[in-house]
Amino acid sequence: MSMVKLVGIADVAVVRAPEQLCCIGLGSCVAVFIYDPETRIGGVLHALLPRAPDGKRSDAKYADSGTRMLHRMVISKGANKRKLWAKLVGGARMFANLDIQIRDIGGENVRQAKKTLRELGVRIVAEDVEGNRGRSAYYSLEDGTITLKTAFSTDKEI
């Protein structure tokens, strides 16, 4: 089995098959996966917050600037811009009864990632988002399959 590279919070990584990527313990964070099935080049962004405060162009901490950054990196690695698709994972509401000073960050992360992907013209082919459970995502670059693990249910693939 090939190496699985861990992509932590506020990080972005782009690889090609047969390498693999994973994000462990996604709560309100959103993971944006972009993949080109032809070249089998793909990447993932692990974003913490929805919007960069000053419209910073390259900051993987944020769903908007991070998604643009991931999109650029995947293309510059050699992926075909017209073939790209995206999958979204995460954006849960971890503490349902806690709303003081904390908005629904998970939901906002997902909405922002979708908006940015739409602006970039990348279609979303699958998602496993929101709810109130954390997820770990293992991303195979062989065919773009994402295996999802939670603390509560059996594994599933998207």
Binding site: G8, I9, I24, G25, L26, G27, S28, C29, L48, L49, K61, A92, M94, F95, A96, N97, L98, I100, Q101, I102, I105, N132, R133, G134, R135, S136, T150, A151, F152
Partner: protein
């Protein structure tokens, strides 16, 4: 923070950690109706990004209770019980075998309350040490992957908090023992207040 400063801060943390753990043990002994002694096994101050690793990895299942302080001294406060400890607590309270990933609402609520009591009694220790009232908002609780539980404090305070004060405590009973982590995520003003108030008394 320079090295001499870190040493002093660690001394201060140990001081309040022992008082806080003692408070928490007394309160929990009463709640759980068992005799408990406590032992603070380690105190640390570390970057927010390293907490997951220190607590055993982001893929571990834990029970977390989180809140933030109201008022000027903004801080996040998180109590984490590792899976085995959370199971021990719930089984003791419920008197039946428990699966952490399949808790009843009552069991989850009980676990949240244990976390809340711990959290408040540690805070009392901090509050007395710096001679300032600290008022926590009502807490939220989650049983989930550690990484997911840590997302909210990171998202809420990640931009304004650099260092986390972390305390590991073992609570030992006659038949059962469990362990818990108390994490204080102080914004700059809070950290400064702790250093100033306690710095004065040390001199």
């Amino acid at each position: 923070m320079d090295e001499s400063n870190t040493g002093m801060v660690l001394g201060i943390i140990k001081e309040f950690a022992n008082v806080g753990a003692g408070n928490a043990a007394t309160a929990l002994a009463s709640l759980l109706d068992m005799e408990l002694v406590n032992e603070v096994t380690s105190c640390n101050i570390m970057p927010l990004s390293r907490i997951g690793e220190w607590l055993g990895g982001n893929d571990k299942v834990v029970a977390g209770t989180y809140t933030q302080l109201c008022g000027d001294l903004r801080s996040g406060v998180l109590v984490v019980f590792p899976k085995e400890s959370a199971v021990t607590i719930v089984e003791h309270l419920a008197g039946e075998d428990t699966d952490l990933v399949d808790l009843t609402p009552i069991q989850l609520s009980a676990l949240c309350e244990v976390g809340n009591i711990c959290l408040c009694w540690y805070l009392v220790a901090v509050s007395r040490m710096i001679d300032t009232d600290l008022i926590p908002a009502p807490p939220g609780a989650a049983v989930d992957l550690l990484g997911a539980v840590l997302d909210i404090p990171l998202a809420a305070l990640g931009a304004s908090v650099d260092s986390v004060i972390a305390v590991h405590t073992v609570f030992k009973g006659i038949e059962r023992s469990f362990e818990g982590y108390f994490l204080l995520l102080p914004e700059d003003l809070m950290l400064k207040t702790i250093l100033e108030k306690v710095g004065d008394t040390l001199i």
